[in-house]
């Protein structure tokens, strides 16, 4: 019984993680410039990875492996935003112009 509950939970988590990764990918393909693409990819990647790791934690139960997975997620939580920040800084210092929406003068 408990095994089935864990299985269902891990399926839901992994599917949720896949959904967020897909949303992030669509965002990267459709967004107009570097900064908006970074915003889409950076946030959804961290969240999607978190859900995937949560799904894996449900599969491994309550062992040392779960602790390792959570440590991996802790480091991902630390480094993914820093990486996005570094990319955005590099784009800014490379003088990439942000996309500006065209507002009709009224």
């Amino acid at each position: 019984m408990l095994g089935m509950v864990l299985d269902v939970l891990s399926w839901v988590s992994i599917l949720g993680g896949l959904f967020f990764m897909l949303v992030g990918t669509v965002g990267v393909l459709r967004m107009p410039d570097v900064y908006t693409r970074l915003h889409a990819a950076g946030m959804t990647d961290t969240l999607g990875a978190g859900f995937l790791i949560l799904g894996m934690c449900f599969q491994t139960g309550f062992t040392l492996l779960t602790l390792r997975l959570l440590l991996v997620y802790a480091f991902l939580l630390f480094t993914s935003p820093i990486g996005t920040h570094a990319l955005a800084r590099a784009a800014l210092s490379g003088k990439v112009e942000p996309y500006r929406a065209h507002v009709d003068e009224e």
Partner: protein, 141 residues
């Protein structure tokens, strides 16, 4: 205030863990995936990260190029040296059984020492190649 604060603090937090992970991979090569090559690369990656965030000058003060060139040769010497030690103890080249009082312990310590040699060489080579490439600019014209 220097506006690279986030990168610097993030790096300061991460580098000890990267080095620790490299040592973990090295010593757990006996029980799981790992060993000298992976550990050497991860160890070098920590120093490359330091050089990228804090600058090449400071990285070269921490880890002088002469030292890493020496490291890369030292690792090969450690490896071959293990073989010479086994020969001096009466066995063939790289025959770990004669290293210690017991073949099992001999194998264990022999593998440990050659993997350590591999770690040192791979670390030295990766950092040296990074130093050779980094900081160069294209000559105009």
């Amino acid at each position: 205030m220097d506006d690279r604060v986030i990168l610097r603090i993030g790096t300061k937090f991460l580098i000890p863990f990267i080095l620790l992970f490299a040592l973990y991979v090295q010593f757990h090569g006996d029980y799981g995936p790992g060993g000298g090559f992976q550990a050497g690369v991860i160890f070098a990656a920590a120093f490359v990260l330091y050089a990228l965030v804090y600058g090449l000058g400071r990285a070269k003060e921490v880890l002088p190029p002469g030292f890493v060139h020496t490291c890369s040769a030292l690792g090969v010497m450690i490896y071959a040296g293990t073989g010479v030690v086994t020969m001096l103890k009466g066995g063939l080249f790289l025959d770990y059984n004669v290293l210690l009082h017991d073949p099992h312990h001999g194998q264990h310590w022999g593998i440990f020492s050659v993997e350590f040699g591999v770690l040192v060489t791979v670390f030295g080579v990766m950092v040296s190649i990074f130093y050779a490439f980094a900081g160069r600019r294209r000559r105009e014209g």
